[in-house]
Every structure is written in structure tokens, then in C-alpha cells.
Amino acid sequence: MFALIDCNNFYASCERVFQPQYEGKALVILSNNDGCVIARSNEAKALGIPMGAPAFKFRNEFKKHNIRVFSSNYPLYGDMSHRVMKILETYTPNVEIYSIDEAFLKFEGFDYFDLNAKGLKMRKQVRKWTGIPVSVGLAPSKALAKIANKIAKKFDKRTQGVHCIDSDKKRLKALKWTPIEDVWGVGRQHAKRLQAMGITTALDFVNLPDEWIKKQMSILGLRLKRDLEGVSSIQLEEVAPAKKSIAVTRSFKNILNIFSSLEERITTYTLLGAEKLRKQKSCATALHVFVRSNPFDLNAAQYRNCCTLTLPHATDSNFVLNRYALMGLRSIFKPGIEYKKAGVILLGLTPSSSRQISLFEQDTVKHTALMQTLDKIHRRYGPHQMKLASQDLKQTWKMKREHLSNRFTTEINEIIRVK
């Protein structure tokens, strides 16, 4: 069985943990530079604030409805995400961090346990320990777990935030309820085509003949069908990642304990992530790196750490991303630990307006020389005299973050104050 755990309105929830006065109030989080809305509380959604709404256009709207506006606070979100994931990892060794606020858990040999009760326990623990509300979807495949999660969230009063698709009756009901465009892995193009043919729900899709799906949507479409039939067939990496973040995390086959080997892994993950980033034509504005030992090896010294870095500008460059990823790794690496898992999550994704930087993507040697020259110029003539071509030249160097909340968990001078 699989579980998909998804944090409800994650960024908004993080803000509320440390500022409970906004509980039940409408709030939105803006992208880097306070450009557009990247996250909304349920109340803001209900007021009709769309995802991606440009902040300057909606200023009056925010005021009129008394919507609290926040700049994105990635150090806070990264740390809270880390806490949630770590709690989830105590439930099963098989955790796949899918994005900053979602994880798949695989339960093997738990058939005789009450998974619904386990889901409720997980949800309660995460809420109590971290303050973050989550929804849990349980099902025999990942695509179904996604759907179960949607149901859990949509009908949270009735489901208490946990829904388990554990019978064929429940499965068919769920498929009938799910619009085709909401099915995991069905892109907009496919959805349009299917809708035009009268295929409007996941159930309609499952009823299509195998040959047709294979021909029209390749083997991936067929695997999706199997998944929706309750036969687990989809591997995680095969499905396009969630738009707002890209996560590349892996457990190592063997234990790693020296810096250079971790460095190599982090670089590989970063480049993989960067490739996905460019594929969906996005740039990242922040980056999260984590490492950990094997929590199930009781004899080994336990360690895990993470850090979130805000990038100086939105980028899809291998070189820049990797430089920051390794900077992050250096700050959290602790010698003498047997590392079992590491990961890189690219955050704060914005559409890339320029591809110029790809000139240098394949040529790190030249790129290094270039960066050194740049650094020299900066040293001689003061910083930021030269920018990478992909940077917006009109934009001032310093990021606009007028509504930034405190880094409550990563900066000791910014912790909450209590009277």
C-alpha cells in the first residue's frame, strides 16, 4: 500500500504556526521579489485570488478583503518541511520526498494493520509536533493514493483528513469523482484530447481499451491505467514533478562517509533537478539540501541536517545551482557520519524568460574561468558590476521582500517572543 501525505496549503500553514493570529484568515504568499501569488490559504482561494496573480494588479483586492500578504520565506518552509518528512520517516523506511510538501510512503507487510488508523495517527502527530496540517491518501498504487489524498482534503470533515481506497467499490467511486484533468500524470494536452472524446473522468479513462491508450499515450499511459486499476505500476520519477518545486532525493546503495562522495551525489542530484527545471522552462529562486544517516541502523551514529538557501537571482544554470547546493552541503556536512540518503529540492520556481545561460551549461571548465574573472571584476570594481545574461538587468540586485516574516526556526534572533 502507498500513502501520499500532502501538507495543506503548506506555505500558508508555515506562516500560521508562528503567527496564529492568521488562523482562519485569508493570506497569500508571493514569489521572490514579491512578484506574484504562489500560495494561498483556503480563505484566499475562496475570495477568488488566482494562483500566479501579479501582486501589483491585486493590491486593491488584497486591501479590500483584508488579505495578509507574505513574501516567500524559504528558510522557514524548508525547515518545517524537513521536520514533517522526518516524522513520516519513523513510520516506514520507504519514504519518497516528492516535493517540499508531499511525500509518498510505501507500506510493505502491513496488510493486516489498520492503515486508516495509521494515517490518522500520522496526521495527528505531524499536526501536534510541527503545527502543520496534512492530508493522507492511502491506496494500492501511487496514482490512486493521489486521488485518495484529494478526497481526504476535499471532504476533511467527514474523512478527518485521511482517506483509504481499500476496496474496489471505493476505487470505482473515487475514479468516477475524479475529473480526467486532475489525474496524476495526465498533462494538459492529453486531458484536452480526452475531454474532446467525451472522456471526462478517471473512470472513463480506465474503461478505454489498452491498445488505444498505448497508441495514443505510449506505455506511460498504459501504466497509469494499471495504477488506476489498483495495480501499482508507476515509478515516481516517471511522472512530471509538481510545478512549484522539484525534488531529487535518493537513498544510497552503500553508506557514504566522506565529503567528496557526498559532493558527487549532491552535484548529480542538482544537475538532474536542473535538467527537469529547464525541461519545464522554469528557474529556481531557492534551494534546499539535506543529508541523513540511516535511522533504521540502530548501531550507527544518527545525524540529519538540512539547509535552505535563497539564490541571488532566478536561475536554471547547472553551475549556479550546483555552487549553491555544495555551499549548502558544506554547511551541513558532519564528518564521521555514515550517510544513507541525501537530496536537493529546487524551490520558488518561476518561468524562465531567458535561455542564454545554457551557453555555459555543458562547459563547466570555461564557466569556472568565467566566474573567476567575474569575481575578480567584482573585487576590483565593487560587487554586481557584471551580471549573468539571464538576469533581469532592470531588476535591482537586492530582492524585494517587503512582507517577509521572521526565520523563526533557523535564525536565533528571529525566534518568537513570549510575554
Binding site: 496564529p20 501536534k128 509536533w129 510541527t130 564528518p335 526556526t409 534572533n413 518568537i416 517572543r417 510575554k419
Partner: protein
Amino acid sequence: MSDKEDKIIFFQPDQELGKSSFLAQEGISAGFPSPADDFKELRISIDREVVKNEEATFYARVSGESMQGAGLDDGDLLVIDRSLEPQDNKIAVCFIDGEFTVKRLKVEKDCVYLMPENPKYQPIKVTEDNELIIWGVVTYVVKKV
């Protein structure tokens, strides 16, 4: 003020710990094992002592004198463990009427009081009109001497 120093005092020992254990292991592979290694113990870490549940641990800074009697002075650092159940007589960080406060909980039959420990402050009776969130139980206070 001393906020910066607090930070260093609070986090440094744990990093030191990592370095020392690393060196000892290197020594083993280089040749004759140090007989002391078998008796090697981890250096004391304040972090390990006060943080029992890393994922549920948060920090707060005391502002004001309402809990002076309990040893919580203005500017002290509080360690909060959200995984603990709030109970009668525990000191907890609460959120009430729009602000965070730290008080001792007094749980009665159908009423909760937030008790200050300073005669200059009044107990807060939590009624249905108040929205109370018991945010987390205070487990340690770190103060500069």
C-alpha cells in the same frame, strides 16, 4: 546585545563533537589503534541534553517579567517541546488574544488559568470568549549569567 553570543554558545559544542570523533576514526585506519578509543565517550552536548525531540523543538525569547518567580527572566531563551502533552502545572507557551505568552497552566474542572509567577501580574482566566492555543510545553530555560 548578547543575542549573537547566545547563538555561538548554544550551537557550537555539537559541531566540535563531530570533529573529534572523526579524527579518532581516521586514526584507526592509519595504523595501530588507540587503546583509548574503546573508552572514548562523546563530548557533552547541550543540544543533546535539552533537545529530546528535534522535530518538535522550537525556541522562544522571553520578553517581560511575568514569570520571574519561575526563573524565566527577560531575554532568556526557552526550549519548547511541542510533542509533550500540556498538563496542569506545566509551563507552556500559549497564544491568547493575539499574542504569545508564557505562563504556568492551572487546569480546573471546566476552566483553565494561565498563572504568572510575579505578584505584579494577574492570572488570566481562559473563558469561552478567549481563543487559547497551548502552543508547546517549555522544557528548559537557557539564561546568560
